[in-house]
Amino acid sequence: MKKEKQSVDRELVDRSFFSRVEPYLYLLPFFLGIVVFTLYPVVNVVLMSFKEDYSYLSRSFTQWGFGNYRIVLSNRYFGQAVGNTIKYVLLVVPISTCIAVVVAYLLNQKLRFNALFQTAYFLPMVTSVTAVGLSWKLMYNQNFGIINYLLSFLGIDPVPWLVNASWSLPALVIFGIWNILPFTIILLLSGLQNIDPQYYTAARVDGSKSLRIFFRITVPLLAPTIFLVCIVNTISSFKVFSELYPLFSGKPGPFNNMYTVVYYIRKAMTDRKYAVAAAAAIILFLFIFAFTMIQTFVRKRMERRGQ
């Protein structure tokens, strides 16, 4: 029986050799791209981070070891960068998620001018961060910026957004939230549209008001999407750089006080310390990995606990 089956299999293999190989041929071009531009660099970065005194030009290094990690971890700017980045993530992700849930909820209502609102909210997505960052730089201007102008109506004195060290993190966070909102809203909106409207009808018949429906029905049913958004945004916020760069004209804040991890990595690279940059990148990866694991763990716990 078994022998028979094997011979049948062989026949099948012989006859359909091409048809078995064919799908891989289609996958090959894209896979080559991944190997060359993603897998090779990733492996290389990991290796490079352990090469001490690495010279990019000669590709020489003295020995394998943790020398680069020691350099990174003892650098006071890197410590500052980690602190700033974590603060940035902890502010941007929760705030942007909360705002996005509310906005997505409103956009999901059958409102008039809905198309107009949707376009307006999604506009930042199709603009370049750097270009928009330059506009924000103008808007943040202490004397001529529109933000301080608007705040003056509330009786608030001009805020030194970009020139005072204690205001640089808020400035960066506000811009970061604005920048990340459209993507978050799109994801949440698609999540909302997957909720069967019958739950709302049922809750309404049961006498629930809008606010209760929102918190007891909408948000729990949206939870999987909210978690997805949190994870994706945490990862992208840890890599904050393109928001920072145009805001402070390429400098890490007015007094070198706004280093972020990616800014630190970039700085190391422009200083041709590639191996140090690689080590910092690995450390960043570990941070992201840890945060994502914590989120997944929390999610699993909440799911098991239920309502």
Binding site: D196, Q198, Y199, T201, A202, A203, R204, V205, D206, G207, S208, K209, R212, R216, I217, P220, L221, A223, G306, Q307
Partner: protein, 352 residues
């Protein structure tokens, strides 16, 4: 609670889903809204629940005009076709939810939820999620959630259509039992005539948004108001023989049958009518007026279901198996008194 529908009309952009519908539903009864798909029965239910506003007419619960009241103020319990149980809550959470919105204290909430869960037999499933329940169990939970707030009126929208055949039988008995235990006035939407016949006190039969007959189940079957009612109820469907009335007798269009019955006396000569006969209302009779040929015979135990051909007209009849009918036999049939109706062929109206 008595429900009065007073000339209810519902118009959507280009269709009238319910037109000039009037009916009174008695207190404590289980009433079926019956009709084919698209006849407006769900629309009517949604207007009763307050989810849809009426275009015209008034709805009264007892003497209270509820036409303009929003759903939450009508005191209704609603069971959706697909149950709409909140997937993120346990069975207990689902049942308690309506009470939560009424700000019932927690202990009373739990007590009432447990009591109602016992009534519908889901008390051992309280900590499960809807996804972990079978269709029948979800149905029970949905009913419990609708009943827990002691509604004046329980509305069920095709509650059995998502269940398999066996569960459907079981659940309709259950719905009947629960309804009788609680005594709550219940309106049940279905397109299944058998379901409607078996559990309801009254049936409201609709077609294209128009009330056809509001009556006791057996009256719908035994005294159909028009051709549509006669056609809709009964399995196998009623047999319609086209013909004309002449001199107090019915002359078939096919074959050469001349049926003389008191039924036809007083009908104008030449009127085109259908003679509609239930399958159980035929008898073999050598002197019968209908000469036909047996085309098929199915054994059904004590009786046989025989197909007859009269000219080009086919019909089905239950015949005693002892008669030993064979395909190709030529026999004569007569009619019993019960289950024989005459309808005008143009208007479908019953001629008595």
């Amino acid at each position: 609670m008595r429900v009065v529908l007073d000339h209810i009309t519902k118009r959507f952009a280009d269709v009238t889903a319910v037109s000039d519908f009037s009916a009174t539903l008695n207190d404590g009864e289980l009433v079926c809204l019956l009709g084919p798909s698209g006849c407006g029965k769900s629309t009517l239910l949604n207007m009763l629940s307050g989810i849809l506003p009426v275009s015209d007419g008034k709805i009264f619960f007892d003497d209270e005009d509820v036409t303009m009241l929003p759903p939450e103020q009508r005191g209704i319990g609603l069971v959706f076709q697909n149950y709409a149980l909140y997937p993120h809550m346990t069975v207990l959470g689902n049942i308690c939810f309506p009470l939560e919105t009424q700000h019932v204290p927690k202990e009373e909430r739990l007590a009432r939820a447990n009591e109602i869960a016992k009534l519908v037999h889901v008390d051992m499933l309280m900590n499960r999620r809807p996804a972990e329940l079978s269709g029948g169990q979800q149905q029970r939970v949905a009913i419990a959630r609708a009943l827990v707030k002691n509604p004046r009126l329980l509305l069920l929208d095709e509650p059995l259509s998502n269940l398999d055949a066996r569960l459907r039988l079981e659940m309709r008995e259950e719905i009947r039992r629960i309804q009788q235990r609680t005594g709550v006035t219940t309106i049940f939407v279905t397109h299944d005539q058998e379901e409607a016949m078996s559990i309801s006190d009254h049936i409201v039969l609709m077609k294209l948004g128009v009330l056809q007959q509001n009556d006791l189940p057996q009256n719908l079957y035994n005294e159909p108001a028009n051709q549509f009612v006669a056609d809709f109820l009964g399995n196998p469907p009623i047999n319609n023989l086209p013909g004309t009335v002449s001199g107090g007798a019915f002359i078939t269009e096919e074959g050469d049958g001349v049926v003389k019955m008191p039924l036809f006396e007083g009908i104008a000569d030449g009127r085109k009518v259908n003679l509609s006969v239930r399958s159980e209302s035929f008898v073999l009779d050598p002197d019968g007026p209908l000469a036909c040929e047996v085309t098929r015979v199915y054994q059904m135990g004590k009786e046989e279901m025989a197909y007859f051909k009269l000219g080009e007209c086919d019909f089905r009849a239950y015949i005693d198996a002892d008669e030993g009918l064979k395909v190709g036999n030529r026999v004569r049939l007569n009619l019993k008194k019960r289950g024989v109706f005459v309808f005008d062929r143009e208007t479908g109206e019953r001629i008595k």
